[in-house]
């Protein structure tokens, strides 16, 4: 499993895509797209992170147990963000008390 040898060509391709995405996200930041600025920046960041995890960190070729830990960590991060924001962002809705 962990003995899988990835060809350097793949690493160079991923590197090129990561650099292009960096240029893209910086470029987008100079245009006013309203709330879409944050969305674009985060979508690009998540795409870049996924490439690093899959190829540089070999998860694509790794055992299923590794997948479970990776997905688990993102899932728990989701719980942290969702529950915290669902609290803070709705506090102003309070009508009494």
């Amino acid at each position: 499993m962990s003995q899988h040898v990835v060809q350097p060509r793949i690493y160079y391709t991923i590197f090129a895509i990561l650099m292009l995405c960096t240029a893209l996200t910086v470029g987008i930041a100079f245009f006013d797209l309203g709330p879409l600025n944050a969305v674009a920046a985060l979508v690009i960041a998540m795409f870049k992170a996924t490439l690093v995890v899959m190829f540089f960190m070999h998860v694509k070729y790794g055992p299923r147990l590794t997948w479970a830990v990776v997905i688990g960590s993102v899932y728990w991060l989701g719980i942290l963000l969702t529950l915290t924001l669902s609290d803070y962002l709705t506090r102003a809705w309070r009508t009494f008390g």
């Binding site: 962990s2 650099m19 960096t22 920046a41 590794t66 803070y88």
Partner: protein, 216 residues
């Protein structure tokens, strides 16, 4: 099964392959705790950004987007050299491995140098939260929250970089002594996982701190 006699094989494992899988799984579990460690800070940032978006946008403008972009490129390049180092280790190419580890550490050091330069600019501009903080009156308090988060998040990231360079230094010495072979290179792979994780943290820090709210 064929590799049972390898000197690096600990007695509780059946094979080097199993040992490597167990080792990287352990690293991934540690990285999961790191995701939530940084996740707490990202959540804090998100809450304050939603509350004080105008102040955060104004403060974000004061960061140097050119240095930030250069540093992002430096760190991504260091991830490439790290991935290539693991590849060299897998093939048992000791010379390549040593060179690529040096390159990775050098790029990490360049990153820290540029970060230090940015920090010194912040001190000179009185953008460090505290009694000497200066900012336009309207956003004085909210900008301090932004810069507090900026220093805590990039500072913790920099500490991770320093630890990463230290780990790679140990790996370099071990590789120099010929400890790794095409059969046994798990420590290089696992150190690589840490290095790439630190890169991923920066992949999120960069847009959140430097880019969002830039245009306004």
């Amino acid at each position: 099964m064929t590799e049972t006699a390898h000197s690096a094989l600990a007695h509780q494992f059946d094979s080097l392959g199993q040992q490597t899988d167990a080792g990287s799984l352990g690293m991934w579990v540690f990285l999961a705790t790191e995701v939530l460690f940084f996740g707490g800070l990202f959540t804090t940032y998100t809450v304050y950004r939603v509350f004080y978006s105008a102040g955060f946008s104004a403060a974000s403008h004061e960061l140097d987007i050119v240095l930030g972009t250069i540093n992002t490129a430096v760190l991504i390049t260091s991830s490439l050299t790290m991935a290539l180092a693991v590849h060299a280790a897998q093939l048992g190419r000791r010379r390549h491995l040593l060179t690529l580890l040096v390159l990775t550490m050098a790029l990490g050091t360049v990153f820290l140098g540029i970060k230090g330069l940015e920090y010194s600019h912040k001190f000179a501009e009185h953008h460090v939260p505290g009694p000497t903080f200066q900012f336009e009156k309207e956003y004085f308090r909210h900008a301090q929250i932004f810069f507090s988060l900026y220093f805590i998040m990039t500072g913790l990231h920099a500490i991770h970089m320093i630890i990463g360079i230290g780990v790679l230094l140990v790996m370099w010495v071990l590789a120099w002594r010929g400890k790794f072979t095409a059969e046994y290179f798990a420590p290089i792979e696992i150190s690589g996982l840490y290095w790439h994780f630190v890169d991923i943290v920066w992949i999120f820090l960069f847009p959140l701190l430097y880019l969002i709210g830039r245009h306004a």
